[in-house]
Every structure is written in structure tokens, then in C-alpha cells.
């Protein structure tokens, strides 16, 4: 049994930021992470981090762009906080060592990003996520923060209505242990692996989101799933939006710059939901290449500029698609990329369960409403990771530790034992593939009642089949088959929440696009979905959107 004041679940940018702040506040902090922290998916974030830092830019401009980008579902007070803090956060990360790209006069470069009227995405080459993650991790090493790496959390324990600890499984040797804590900050990031085509890492299974859900935290706006327009056709790895920021152009099979049709003002740099729908429409109407992909043309930039500004795009394109972007266009298609929804928190990162905090992609404040703009996710991780870390430390200071995880530990022990020994007929990977296919086909870029109802039935049927799985590996050491079985359960739970929310929301807004309800319906639907785990079923409630300055208006680009 281990005991700390504040547990941070997940070691990515949000978790590392939370840990740093909590540690500085004097709390005994420990990070519990399924992966070694530098393996977190933060590192895959490429293009940039937004802030109104440059002369002439304003936080209000950043905020409005973000809110309009969210199709007016974002909670505006939260967005204000994010955008106000952003410039100082860039400076702070620079002071901590982030190698932001600069011009010869020493001023930070920035680049335009989708949906932003002004260039305000600061970057480190096109590996901004990697650079920020390294910096955040370096600070943890400096501070000597306790790290439990390659431990997969299996339960959050709530005792007397309050967080008391978590159970985690040590991947290296199969031990299950209780980690007692007064507060936990859940920072487990993405959970998009229920989709067949996703830019997410294989490990992005929304574990923390599901754990918090099952522990009583509401999940907010889960139906809002972002499909990134430019994933590399085939492996679906991310081709950063920065490629378009640097001047890349989308073309269909006829060579047409089709975004001129869909978004006359911002063209290729329209927000992601709009571009994804545009590409999907081109495909549906027969103007894409066989397989449904289109071209991202960077040839006019020339190899030298591509290598200088977009080295990762160059690397991916040549290594994974055999395409030299200086000579040929890159084949791209939409893929699931980010989930706007997540564990509902307030601006301090607190959830409805005392002691459970959340930050980063797995949380929903809501900053991004119905659609996230590129460059705001890395920012969110730092800003709200810090808030949550500070709040968790403060909470821990005035709270006593509750004991009581013994029963849950034994339960988990039995569950793991069962998973290892059960001889069912269903292969875990087979169930997972079925889930991924049905979610992709039925709850994707374009949705309708019939498809989603079928998806809901399918997901529920898959959950019924889960007890019949067979892990097929009995070992205690690095038993990834066991981990995958546990991850599958989380994916199933989250999938059901997504489909239910999507079915219920009878409008189109942001990334949630229904062919049967194609318009945005503010009078009825300017509200957030909240999903609650009631033990045997999921219940949906709603809460209003917090509006400060900006009344919802038509969203065109």
C-alpha cells in the first residue's frame, strides 16, 4: 500500500503540469502512469500552442475565436481564463527551457492555425508537443517528484462520498496495489481508440475518463468527437494542421481546391470539423481518390522550407507513405483525433466528487465546446493542469486521509484473477475491432438517428459479450493482453456514453453533425450533456452554457 497527498493519474503535459504545481505547493505528490511519461500522447501534438502574446494581439481575440470555433458551446468564463493566462504560460514554459522557434532578432515565431483570425500559434519546429512534454518532464526530474511508471489504474475509490485512493496494476510484475491519497488529478488524456481510424496512440483508451465515470463523476459533452481532417491515409497518423498553416492546400481528385467552396474566407484553415466534413462530402460525392482520401499539397513550399518548418511532416510522409512532400502531394483523410468531452470540471479542475480533479483532454471544463481549435489543447493541458494541481494540493492540505480501499483491492484482485483465468470464446481483439468498426461507421463525421441507434444496440451487445472474453495470456510480467482486456472495458463504457449523447442531441453543432438535424438549434440545444453512471445504466442530464460576453451567432468562415 502506498500513500501520498496528491496522486496524479497520467504523466503527460497536463499531469506533469499538475504535479509540478502541487509539488511546489508543498504537497507529497506522486504520478501514476500507464506509460513512462515521455511516451504520453502529448508528444504527438505537433503544430503549436496558442497565445495572444504577439504585439497587437488580444486575449479577447483569442477567446472569441475559440468560442466561435466551439460553435458557441464553450463556457465563456473558462475560455476567458484560458486566453488571459496563455501569454504568461508561453513565457513561463520558455523560462523553463522550451526551445520555441525564434527569428534572427530573437522573437518567438508564431503561425496561423485553423479558425484563428490572427496567427498566434507558437511552436518548436513541428514537434511542439514533444518540446513542451520534455520541458514539463525535465522539471519533474529537477523537483524529484515521485513517479510510478507503468502502473495501470483499475479503480478510483470513493469512500463516504469522497476520494480515498486508487488501485493500480503494476505492468512489470502483475501486482495490484492500493494507492491512498487525499486527492487525485486525472490526466489520462485521449480515449479515441474506439474508432477504427484514429490518430490516437494504441494506448489511448480513456482509462481515467472511464474510471472517473464509474466512480461517480459526470462526463460532459462526450458526443463531441473531433475528426482531424488530415491524417495520413493508411496508418492514420497525424499530419499537423501546421502544414496548412504554412501554406499547404487541400485538393480533390480533380485537382480542385475544394475548401474554397465550403469556407470562402478561411479556405484550408477553416476549423477542423468544417474541413473534415468537407473532405467527407467530397468523398461521398465521388470527388475523392479511391479509398476516400484527398491530397494535401505542399509542393509549392519546396523541400527546404518543408524540412525547416515541418520536419515531422516530411518524416512521416516519406517514412510512412513513401511520399516526398516537396515533390508530390500527401494522401490524407479524416480520422478521430480528440474528444472535446470528458470528465466535467469547474475552472479549478474539481469534479462533482470531492477529491477527484481532472485536467487535459480527459477533462471538459468546457473550453472547446463542440469543436476544438488547433493549438488550444497543449495550452489547456498547461493552464488547467496547473489549476487542478493547485486545487488538489489545497484540498489535500485541509483534508484527512480516509482509509478503506481494502475491499476494492480485493475486488480488483478477483477481477484480474478472473480475467487471467477465464476461458471464454471471445477474443479481446475481435470485440475491439467490432467496436471500432461500428463506431467509425455509425458515429463518425456524419450521423443520423438510424445509424446511431444501431450503434447503441451494437455497443450494448458487445458489453454483454465482454464476460465471455479470453485474455489468452496467464503471465504476471508485461501481460499486455490483460491490459488490453481492461482497456476494452473502458472503451465500451465510453462508447456507450458517446452514442447516447449523440442520439439524444437532435441538432448539428461543431463536430456533431447530423444529416437528419442539420442545423444548430440554440433554443433547444445550447446546453451541455452530462452523463452519469447509475450502476446498472447511464443517465443523461443537461446544464446551461456559461455565457459572458459573446452571444451565439452564425458560425461561418
Amino acid at each position: 500500500m502506498k500513500r501520498h497527498d496528491v496522486l496524479i493519474l497520467g504523466g503527460g503535459l497536463a499531469g506533469a503540469s499538475a504535479a509540478r504545481v502541487a509539488h511546489q505547493a508543498g504537497a507529497d505528490v506522486a504520478i501514476v502512469s500507464k506509460l513512462s511519461p515521455l511516451r504520453s500522447h502529448t508528444v504527438a501534438a505537433a503544430g503549436g500552442i496558442n497565445a495572444a502574446l504577439a504585439a497587437g494581439d488580444t486575449w479577447e481575440g483569442h477567446a472569441f475565436d475559440t468560442i466561435k470555433g466551439s460553435d458557441f458551446l464553450a463556457d465563456q468564463d473558462s475560455v476567458e481564463i484560458l486566453c488571459r493566462e496563455a501569454p504568461n504560460l508561453i513565457v513561463e514554459m520558455d523560462h523553463l527551457g522550451t526551445p520555441f522557434s525564434r527569428d534572427e532578432s530573437g522573437t518567438l515565431f508564431n503561425r496561423p492555425f485553423g479558425g484563428m483570425r490572427q496567427a498566434r500559434a507558437f511552436f518548436a519546429g513541428d514537434r511542439t508537443g514533444l518540446a513542451l512534454m520534455q520541458t514539463a518532464w525535465e522539471q519533474l526530474v529537477k523537483a524529484g517528484v515521485t513517479l510510478y511508471e507503468e502502473w495501470a489504474a483499475t479503480s478510483l475509490i470513493v469512500e463516504n462520498g469522497r476520494f480515498s485512493g486508487l488501485i493500480a496494476y503494476r505492468i512489470a510484475d502483475g501486482t495490484l496495489e492500493e494507492f491512498q491519497g487525499k486527492a487525485v488529478v486525472v490526466c489520462t488524456g485521449p480515449g479515441g481508440q474506439m474508432y477504427l481510424k484514429s490518430t490516437n496512440a494504441v494506448t489511448c483508451t480513456g482509462d481515467g475518463t472511464a474510471l472517473a465515470f464509474r466512480a461517480g463523476c459526470a462526463l460532459k459533452d462526450m458526443e463531441f468527437v473531433q475528426f482531424h481532417p488530415t491524417s495520413l491515409h493508411g496508418p492514420n497518423i497525424l499530419i499537423t494542421e501546421a502544414a496548412r498553416g504554412e501554406g499547404g492546400i487541400l485538393k480533390n481528385a480533380k485537382g480542385e481546391r475544394f475548401m474554397e467552396k465550403y469556407s470562402p474566407k478561411m479556405v484550408d484553415l477553416a476549423p477542423r470539423d468544417i474541413v473534415s466534413r468537407s473532405i467527407q462530402t467530397e468523398a461521398n460525392e465521388g470527388r475523392a481518390f479511391p479509398g476516400g482520401y484527398v491530397h494535401l499539397d505542399l509542393t509549392h513550399l519546396g523541400a527546404a522550407r518543408i524540412k525547416e518548418r515541418l520536419p515531422e511532416v516530411y518524416q512521416f510522409s516519406t517514412e510512412f507513405a513513401g511520399v516526398d512532400p516537396g515533390k508530390e502531394p500527401i494522401p490524407i483523410e479524416p480520422a478521430q483525433h480528440y474528444i472535446m468531452g470528458g470528465i466535467a470540471t469547474n475552472n479549478a479542475g474539481a469534479t462533482n466528487v470531492p477529491g477527484i480533479f481532472a485536467a487535459g483532454e480527459c477533462a471538459c471544463v468546457s473550453l472547446h465546446g463542440a469543436n476544438r481549435l488547433g493549438g488550444n489543447a497543449l495550452l489547456e493541458c498547461i493552464a488547467f493542469g496547473k489549476h487542478a494541481g493547485a486545487a488538489a494540493a489545497a484540498f489535500a492540505k485541509k483534508t484527512a486521509q480516509i482509509a478503506g480501499g481494502e475491499q476494492i483491492l480485493q475486488q480488483e484482485d478477483r477481477r484480474v484473477d478472473w480475467l487471467l483465468k477465464t476461458e471464454g470464446g471471445e477474443r479481446v481483439e475481435a470485440l475491439r475491432l467490432e467496436l471500432k468498426q461500428v463506431m467509425w461507421d455509425n458515429v463518425g463525421v456524419f450521423r443520423n438517428e438510424q445509424d446511431m441507434a444501431a450503434a447503441l444496440a451494437a455497443v450494448r451487445a458487445l458489453r454483454k459479450r465482454y464476460p465471455s472474453i479470453r485474455v489468452g495470456a496467464p503471465g504476471k510480467q508485461f501481460n499486455y493482453a490483460l491490459i488490453e482486456a481492461m482497456e476494452l472495458r473502458n472503451l465500451l463504457d465510453l462508447s456507450e456514453v458517446i452514442v447516447m449523447g449523440a442520439l439524444a442531441r437532435r441538432e448539428s453543432r461543431g463536430a456533431h453533425s447530423r444529416t437528419d438535424f442539420p442545423s444548430r438549434d440554440d433554443p433547444n440545444w445550447l446546453k451541455h450533456t452530462l452523463a452519469w453512471w447509475r450502476g446498472d445504466r447511464i443517465e443523461l442530464t443537461y446544464e446551461p452554457v456559461r455565457i459572458t460576453q459573446w452571444q451565439p451567432q452564425e458560425r461561418t468562415y
Binding site: 508528444v43 527551457g97 520555441f100 530573437g106 525535465e138 494504441v202 489468452g472 503471465g475 493482453a481
Partner: protein
């Protein structure tokens, strides 16, 4: 065997297996797999794990060569399994063998113990040590200074370099290319204020002077990091800062003889580098050298163009002095 030229190859993939729960010794398992063009080694490992043998253990996550999880020894060379195409390897070698990283203990199957790797990284103080008074806004660092970090900043800590490092293989205490590339990243960073302290530390035994310049690290890094270049930069800076070590002694001895005659004076370099006691310790070797008539010249004739060499040296020195801020 691979059918050459076919669009889909059927081949045996051979994978290193080690399960300490089951047996003390390792063995290899083989599976027949279809290999299509474009499939990576990770794709094949996934196929084995998901559909043939769920007990196969390997680390992986992003599958896009950025998280560093999946470094392993593939056909004798360490790299990321997620961006290593299988078909070109099969076309070249006729086989596919996947083993865990080298220079690290194996925990299970393809999962290596990276504890030693991380320890070396922690040892070099891998975080910015800024001066006392940061500016109000971001640091003003011109592009060309920030660009110095390029040869090291994209390190994803995958371990490939350490796996292939010949110096580490012979000396498990050697810090290794990843740690030293990270060390360089801070030495070269204009915002870091602790260069001299760092270089003093890194000039200790098992640091920058223990690199044998074998170039494996530069060669295998999946991110284009150049640890050897980083190490050589730090050596030069250390010497510039007047930091003494056995390594700097040897390099300076070599250099001094060059400035005398334009060529290396082996004899003098050995004396200066080892010192008389050191030379005496080498006496068995020295004796053999003399016996076989291999004694290098004590005095060497300067090359004809020695005046030119000295002129050029002066010009270089002038430029370096001018470039110092």
C-alpha cells in the same frame, strides 16, 4: 522463405522470447505471416500478439515514431519497430528477426530494462539551469543560437543509440549518447547559465571523453539526433573553458604537435598525454615497439608549408576571438 518480387510475401518472422516466470533461458519463436508492402515490423508484431500469441510482450504506443516506446533490435540493428518497413528488410536479408535492445537487461520478450538508460539521463541534470534574472517576456535568443539545439532537441529517449553504443557495451558506466546529447542540449542553450559547471561534470570519467566516436549513435537515431556531434561540441567547449581531463590532455597533446610540424608526432603525443609515469606503465608495449622497429620519430620535420599553417591558425584564432560575445 520470402518469395522475392511478390506483392505479398509469406515469411517466417522470428522473435526473441524470454519469460522468467517460465524458463531461465531465452528461445526464439517463429510465425508464418503475410507481409504486404507498407507494413511495418510493429504491424507484424501486433498481428502475432492479437491473433497468434497474446503472451508476446512488447512496448508500443503512438505508432508514429514520436513516443519512443518501440525501440528494438531488428535484423541486427536497433530502431523503432513502428517505422521500420518489413518488406525492404525481407528483400535485402531474406529473413526477419526481432530481438530486444542491446546493452540492457531483458525483462520479458522484447521489453528491455531501461533503468540504466534513465539513470544516465538523470545523472546529467536534464533541466534548464537558468541565470538569476530572467527577462519579463520570453528570452531573446537569435535563431542561429536556438538552432544549435537542433542536433539534440528531438530526442524521444527511445534508447536506440545506447543499444548500439560500442563504448557502453565495453563500459556499462559510460553515460552514453542519449544522456550526453541531452547534456549538450543544455550546454548549447543560451538560456542555460551553468555551462562551465556542466562541462566540468561531463568531463569526468565515463563522460564526454569516453565516447569512442564509432558513429553508431548518429547512424541509428530515428529522429536525426547527432549525439556524437553533440559530444564533440562539448569537448571543444570544455577545452576552451580550460577544463582538464585525461581526454583533453590527449587531444591537446595531439593538437600541439600538429601546430609544431603540421603532422601528428606520435612519440610526443604519447609522452604528453600519458606523462612519464603513464609511459612507464606502458613499458611492455614500448619495449615491443622498439623491438619491432616501430618507434615513431621523436623529432619530426615540419612540413614545407608550416608558415602557411601558422598563418591560418592565427586567422582562425582572430575569427574566434571576434565571434565571442
Amino acid at each position: 522463405m520470402a518469395a522475392a518480387g511478390a506483392d505479398v510475401l509469406v515469411t517466417k518472422i522470428k522473435v526473441y522470447r524470454f519469460d522468467p516466470e517460465v524458463a531461465k533461458a531465452a528461445h526464439y519463436d517463429e510465425w508464418d505471416l503475410d507481409v504486404k508492402p507498407g507494413q511495418t515490423v510493429l504491424d507484424l508484431l501486433h498481428e502475432v500478439h492479437y491473433f497468434h500469441d497474446p503472451t508476446l510482450s512488447f512496448r508500443r504506443s503512438c505508432r508514429s515514431a514520436i513516443c519512443g516506446s518501440c525501440a528494438m533490435n531488428i535484423n541486427g540493428r536497433t530502431g523503432l519497430s513502428c517505422n521500420t518497413q518489413a518488406k525492404p528488410l525481407l528483400d535485402r536479408d531474406g529473413y526477419l528477426i526481432v530481438e530486444p535492445m542491446k546493452n540492457m537487461p531483458v525483462l520479458k520478450d522484447l521489453v528491455a530494462d531501461m533503468g540504466g538508460f534513465w539513470k544516465a539521463v538523470y545523472d546529467i541534470d536534464p533541466y534548464l539551469r537558468p541565470g538569476a534574472d530572467p527577462p519579463k517576456g520570453p528570452y531573446v535568443v537569435p535563431k542561429h543560437r536556438m538552432d544549435l539545439l537542433k542536433i539534440a532537441q528531438d530526442c524521444i529517449m527511445c534508447g536506440s543509440c545506447l543499444s548500439e553504443c560500442t563504448s557502453r557495451e565495453a563500459n556499462p558506466e559510460y553515460l552514453g549518447p542519449a544522456a550526453l546529447a541531452k547534456a549538450y542540449r543544455f550546454v548549447a542553450d543560451a538560456r542555460d547559465d551553468a555551462s562551465v559547471e556542466r562541462l566540468k561534470e561531463y568531463s569526468q570519467p565515463n563522460g564526454i571523453w569516453d565516447c569512442d566516436t564509432c558513429l553508431y549513435c548518429n547512424e541509428v537515431c530515428p529522429m536525426g539526433v547527432k549525439p556524437m556531434d553533440a559530444i564533440m561540441y562539448m569537448r571543444e567547449k570544455a577545452i576552451e573553458a580550460g577544463i582538464h581531463s585525461q581526454g583533453s590532455k590527449h587531444a591537446l597533446a595531439f593538437y600541439d604537435t600538429l601546430l609544431e610540424t603540421g603532422k601528428l608526432n606520435e612519440f610526443k603525443t604519447a609522452i604528453k598525454s600519458l606523462g612519464i609515469p603513464g609511459l612507464v606503465a606502458q613499458s611492455p608495449i614500448a619495449a615491443k615497439v622498439v623491438l619491432h622497429g616501430k618507434t615513431p620519430d621523436l623529432r619530426k620535420k615540419p612540413i614545407k608549408g608550416m608558415a602557411d599553417v601558422k598563418k591560418l591558425a592565427a586567422l582562425v584564432e582572430k575569427k574566434r576571438k571576434g565571434a565571442k560575445k
